[in-house]
């Protein structure tokens, strides 16, 4: 493994999220005394670990497919995009009720650009996926029994509500 690639992998491992004080201060849900800041931090840590492992797997795969030479820029770009995408995900979690992710655990993956993807599955013909774009945008695709909805939107009340409604729809369909 080249020094550059090794550096990229280390960058993934030492992302700034642990030092991010903001992550420790969000998640205040005063209506539920059982929800604490720490439970949100545990979730954030789990999400990060899953996403980081996927990104590292993809880096290794790139090296296996392309060889160790001239791969540095590809893995650097992937790591850099991953870190931006992670920041967007963190921002998203400031506005989105993270308890959804406890009820509906997302399948976590990373796309070829290094952007983090969440995907949820319902019954036949039902799925929702959400990609955290590196420039702060969210990409949502929701398939529901023959209808499909797609959206590219920044994090705002509209996108948060829409994502919430799609996940509730999926959850209701799952338990129906």
């Amino acid at each position: 493994m080249s020094l550059r690639t090794e550096y990229s992998m280390n960058t993934l491992q030492s992302s700034s999220y642990l030092d991010n004080e903001k992550a420790k201060t969000v998640g205040n849900f005063p209506n539920n005394p059982f929800v604490t800041y720490s439970s949100k931090n545990i979730l954030i840590t789990q999400l990060y670990e899953s996403a980081k492992n996927k990104a590292m797997d993809y880096c290794i795969e790139l090296i296996e497919m392309n060889g160790d030479t001239n791969i540095g820029s590809m893995t650097d770009s992937l790591c850099s995009n991953f870190n931006y995408s992670w920041e967007v995900l963190q921002k998203f979690l400031e506005y989105f009720d993270y308890r959804f992710f406890e009820t509906l655990k997302p399948n976590i993956d990373v796309d070829d650009d290094g952007e983090i993807i969440f995907e949820w599955y319902g019954r036949k013909s039902v799925r929702v996926n959400l990609t955290f774009g590196i420039h702060g945008e969210l990409y949502l695709v929701s398939l529901f029994h023959g209808t499909s909805l797609k959206l590219k939107q920044f994090i705002n009340q509209f996108s948060i509500n829409l994502i919430k409604s799609q996940l509730i729809q999926l959850l209701n369909d799952k338990v129906a």
Partner: protein, 137 residues
């Protein structure tokens, strides 16, 4: 028109991390197109597998292994012609190697949300027919 008979069935190999929900769902990443480095065209590689049994299909994926480090494919999923999104994509029957086709026409869908949507539709359709290779799983 296929030279291998009708109706056509398109099968795509699956990696372990593309199979979800107790082998009932295919992750949409399985159908995200990749750029062909020679032609710069975006495509999803598949094989026509009509009139073949599971063992014959497994053999095709083993012979034409495209996973790094010779990792064997562990499953495949299939899309029958009747369910194929022909109004959205088309088929390049190049038959190189034998039975190989590419799902093309992705240039119409430049944005990430468009490609994610088409890939999700293909993944959902193909989730109906997932064949896991017990010997490799």
């Amino acid at each position: 028109m296929s030279k291998y008979g009708e109706p056509e069935i398109y099968s795509r190999f699956l990696r372990k991390d593309w199979i979800k929900e107790n082998n009932t769902k295919v992750h949409f990443k399985a159908f995200l197109p990749t750029e062909n480095k020679t032609t710069h065209r975006f495509e999803v590689s598949c094989f026509e597998t009509q009139l073949l049994d599971i063992e014959q299909i497994k053999q095709i994926f083993r012979i034409n292994n495209i996973l790094p480090n010779n990792k064997p494919p562990i499953a495949h999923c299939s899309i029958p012609e009747k369910d194929f999104l022909s109004e959205k994509l088309s088929i390049d029957r190049n038959y190189e190697p034998e039975r190989h086709v590419d799902l093309i026409g992705w240039e119409k869908y430049q944005s990430k949300e468009d490609r994610n949507e088409i890939s999700s539709l293909l993944a959902e359709i193909s989730s109906d027919i997932i064949n896991i290779y017990e010997d490799n799983a």
